[in-house]
């Protein structure tokens, strides 16, 4: 249905004149004449107040210019390490010759800066300057020296709000790509951790880095990720969420097929499993692919707490997800179609509670669900101080008063409250849960359990047909991969997770040695002999 719509859109697009593609700047080399080059530069970039062009003479009347964007570079360091040595050249006894001699000396000897490169194209130079480089143009040189002393305002590393753990590292990704890659490097010391960078977005020129473990991640997967990223031709990428939508496998599915995390430890764990991480400049969220459905039920805490407890909590999450999707629908189906399925005392007390409410059960469930969604939405966007007021109004006024006044039956409030709480237990699938819940509630009101069953069949058919970067979405459950169930049905102890997930089809399946179960030294020896 959606694809039909999409085709129509394409057709419409072909009717109206093609939108002008962003003018790709043609290659224009630096002339070597500073006045001309600066004029060309000004022509291209205009006269914004944050563009600093400092012209001066170096080494006895050779004119030069330093160009940088105010705010993208670290001012004191630029002054100390670039401006200072350049201006000092005038007092040097050595006289450099204009041209090659001066350029090489500057590049090789005189500038105490770590990251330095040369660039012969004006356009490229401009590009670099606009992403934080400091360019030095010298009269007589056909090349510009680019130094990197980036220094914009950045947020310090803090604990991510969206993924809180009890026992584990408190650091989270930040908006700066370099910081994020550094965070990953600190987690994975092995040189196999490879970063590859692409620039996406004709206007935003957003740097996007893919990270993977060479020798573990499947080369085809890496290639596929690169291919999908390279085909993005858009004007702007402001957020990792944009990337997700361009590269996901099932764009019309309500289920997400690209994972995300704000935590370096989670990202590192995924990379270690053979996944590919996609880091986007300007977003504290790192995407990981392929993403499997079961990952939604895993939390970093699962791997730090004891296995029995985490197995239990994991099952609670499965139950909570099923409950959050099904419970209002089941409630409606049972109270309007299948009253015989309820135990008699329960039916009687429900009948007593629902007596005299004006709406049918499905209406009550939908209205309460809607009120909950509105409360949640309002609570997220509001400042924290006001958010509390919202929850008080929601809980007390709507829940309590609606029942007291007889508008809504008390069982509906209980069901919706249970739904709400359990939907928060699996935050990764929160959005799908809300969507499925509404559909299931409506279908339950129309067809009862029959409708719920049909919809579940459709949903599961869809789920098993989904793939994320070639990996079946429901694996390792369907197709069944018994080895991988150690992290799905139970959470096996760390020493028992010998293999990497088989479902990911990775190059190096063995994660660790086999006999790592801790025990007294003597016993071990006996076992070996």
């Amino acid at each position: 249905m959606f694809s039909l719509l999409f085709k129509k859109l394409k057709f419409l697009q072909s009717l109206i004149s093609k939108p002008e593609a962003p003018s790709s700047p043609r290659e224009d080399p630096l002339t070597g004449n500073l006045v001309k080059d600066l004029a060309a530069f000004r022509k291209q970039v205009g006269d914004s107040p944050d563009i600093v062009v400092r012209e001066f003479n170096i080494s006895h009347n050779i004119s030069a210019a330093v160009i940088f964007i105010d705010g993208l570079v670290l001012d004191p360091l630029v002054n100390q390490h670039i401006m200072h040595p350049l201006t000092q050249l005038n007092e040097h006894d050595v006289v450099y010759k204009k041209g090659r001699d001066l350029f090489d000396s500057l590049k090789n000897k005189l500038l105490p800066v770590g990251s330095i490169r040369e660039e012969s194209s004006l356009t490229k130079t401009i590009e670099r300057v606009f992403t934080g480089a400091t360019a030095i143009l010298i009269d007589g040189s056909k090349k510009a020296i680019l130094t990197y002393i980036p220094g914009w305002e950045r947020r310090s590393i803090s604990e991510p709000d969206s993924e809180i753990v009890v026992k584990g590292p408190r650091e989270g990704f930040v908006e700066t790509l370099r910081t994020n890659t550094a965070l990953l490097r600190r987690k994975i010391g092995h040189p196999g951790l490879t970063f590859e960078t692409l620039v996406i977005g004709q206007r935003t020129r957003t740097e996007v880095t893919i990270a993977y473990l060479n020798g573990v991640a499947h080369p085809k997967l890496v290639q596929e990720v690169k291919r999908r990223l390279e085909r993005i031709k858009t004007d702007g990428i402001l957020n990792a969420g944009y990337i997700e939508q361009y590269i996901e496998d099932a764009p019309f599915s309500p289920f997400m097929t690209v994972g995300y995390t704000e935590r370096p430890d989670v990202a590192a764990a995924r990379i270690l499993e053979g996944r590919v991480a996609i880091l986007t400049e300007g977003t504290p969220v790192v995407n990981t692919v392929p993403f499997l459905f079961v990952e939604s039920f895993q939390s970093p805490d699962d791997y730090t707490f004891r296995p029995y407890f985490t197995t239990l909590t994991r099952w609670f999450r499965y139950i909570a997800f099923a409950g959050s999707v099904l419970s209002p629908g089941m409630f409606v189906a049972l109270t309007t179609f299948h009253q015989e399925l309820l135990p008699t005392p329960l039916l009687i007390s429900m009948a007593a509670a629902m007596e005299g409410t004006p709406l049918p059960a499905v209406g009550e469930a939908l209205v309460m669900g809607l009120i909950f969604e509105i409360l949640r939405e309002a609570g997220i966007r509001l400042p924290k101080a006001v958010g509390q007021a919202v929850s008080i109004v929601g809980a007390l006024v709507i829940g309590e008063a609606a029942v007291q006044a007889g508008f809504i039956g008390a069982p509906v409030v209980i069901v919706v409250a249970f739904t709400a709480i359990s939907s928060f237990a699996v935050p990764k699938q929160f959005d799908v849960g809300a969507l499925l819940r509404v559909v299931i509630t409506i279908l339950a009101g129309l067809f009862g359990l029959y409708g719920i069953l049909i919809f579940l069949i459709i949903t599961f058919t869809h789920l098993v047909s989904l793939r994320s970067f070639g990996i079946p979405y429901l694996s390792p459950i369907s197709p069944l991969m018994p080895k991988d169930l150690k992290d799905v049905l139970v959470r096996a102890p760390a020493w028992a997770m010998v293999t990497r997930p088989e479902s990911l089809d990775i190059s190096d399946p063995v994660r660790q040695e086999f006999d790592l179960m801790p025990g007294p030294e003597n016993d071990k020896k006996n076992q070996k002999n």
Binding site: M1, S3, L4, T335, T336, F337, Q339, E340, T344, L347, I348, S349, M350, A351, A352, A353, M354, E355, G356, T357, P360, A361, Q404, A405, G406, G445, L446, F447, G448, G451
Partner: protein
């Protein structure tokens, strides 16, 4: 077939699914008259049905907190509606002239059949409940000592509905006295040509109308009531079937030494039918029970082996007496509610074939030999009575 066409066809069926069906059997909870008990009476050639219907408004008012009296439905937790009709379903339809909701039978707890109906034949009275998908086949069937409608009228003191109280009484009573039987079992029992079965009888006692289920039961042959057994007799049957789960046997100690009550918590029983050389069936009943001494009025040392043996013997004697009384009643009514005919058929089908047509003559002649084994597990906290010889 191209994709768009497929989507169109799929969409057509999807729309049909949504607008063509759905909702036809939806019933809101407040549109239902939840029936908790049904009484069936026969008056002349008409059926008189009594429905005990739960009144949610009454229940709501009873619970603290809620909005008292908002529905204006009074404070009764249930109402009884009565209707008559030439058939049961006719009466069910007629009751809709009085109650504004859809009768809903799925949560019916008991069916009470009037005595008149039981004597004339219960089949026309229960056929609707067997045929309709709503009433549960596992609900208890009882026979009213008088009119079934009068059984359903009195209020229950602790339960919301008296039907539920009745159901709970049966649930408890079937562990000892009450030969409980549900709708499905009644249906199965009616198929037997020669056998008989018991349906418990419920009475109303006292001015306040207290329901009373003591274990006396109607003896039914096919679908007609042919007599009545007293509690001891119906428990005699249950001993043999090994159905006792929690029963008290009060037995006399010899030489007027007093009484001892034993709680039986385990019961095994088997009925064997053998043929004498003359070809007459002979019944051997083996019953084994385990129990504990709950109280004793005699000054008796239970820790001694002879003392304990005596108690065991007395308990066995008491049980034996009940079993024999059941046989006695079966013989005198000529109603084989012990199902000896069926056991004979199972073990000696050929013999049964010969005897079946003259079973009514043979059955009263059958004698039973009863063996009861008793084992006492505990005597309680007192091993030696304070006053003992």
């Amino acid at each position: 077939m191209n994709r768009n066409r497929l989507i169109l066809i799929f969409g057509y069926f999807l729309l049909n699914l949504v607008f063509g069906t759905g909702c036809w059997d939806s019933r809101e909870l407040d549109e239902l008259a939840i029936i908790s008990g049904i009484g069936v009476d026969k008056e002349g050639d008409k059926f008189n049905l009594s429905f005990q219907i739960i009144n949610p408004t009454g229940l709501k008012g009873g619970e603290g907190g809620g909005n008292q009296g908002s529905g204006g439905g009074g404070t009764e937790t249930f109402v009884v509606a009565q209707s008559t009709g030439r058939t049961i379903f006719d009466a069910v339809e007629n009751v809709r002239n009085q109650i504004e909701r859809i009768p809903f039978f799925s949560h019916n707890e008991v069916i009470v059949l009037g005595r008149q109906l039981a004597e004339e034949g219960i089949y026309p009275g229960v056929d609707f409940f067997l045929r309709s998908p709503q009433p549960r086949p596992t609900q208890w069937v009882l026979i009213g000592s008088e009119k079934a409608g009068d059984i359903l009228r009195p209020k229950a003191e602790m339960e919301d509905t008296s039907a539920r109280a009745l159901k709970l009484l049966v649930d408890f009573g079937r562990q000892s006295w009450v030969p409980a039987i549900n709708l499905e079992e009644v249906n199965a029992a009616m198929t037997q040509k020669r056998g008989a079965y018991l349906i418990p009888i419920v009475r109303v006692q006292g001015d306040k109308g207290k329901l009373f289920l003591d274990g006396s039961a109607a003896v039914m042959k096919r679908d007609k009531m042919v007599g009545e057994v007293n509690p001891g007799e119906s428990r005699g049957l249950k001993w043999m079937k090994g159905e006792i789960r929690n029963a008290v046997v009060v037995s006399e100690l010899p030489n007027q030494q007093g009484l001892v009550s034993t709680r039986i918590f385990l019961n095994r029983g088997s009925i064997k039918v053998n043929l004498t050389p003359e070809g007459i069936p002979r019944v051997n009943v083996y019953v084994y029970v385990e129990g504990e001494i709950e109280d004793m009025s005699g000054k008796f040392n239970l820790t001694s082996t002879p003392g304990m043996d005596l108690v065991k013997k007395q308990v066995a004697l008491a049980i034996k007496k009940e079993i024999q009384s059941a046989f006695q009643k079966a013989r005198s009514l000529n109603a084989d509610f012990i199902n000896i005919g069926r056991i004979l058929y199972q073990n000696h089908p050929q013999v049964w074939e010969d005897m079946e047509h003259k079973w009514d003559e043979i059955f009263p002649e059958i004698r039973a030999h009863v063996t009861v084994g008793v084992s006492i597990w505990r005597v309680g906290e007192v091993s030696k009575p304070a006053i003992s010889e």
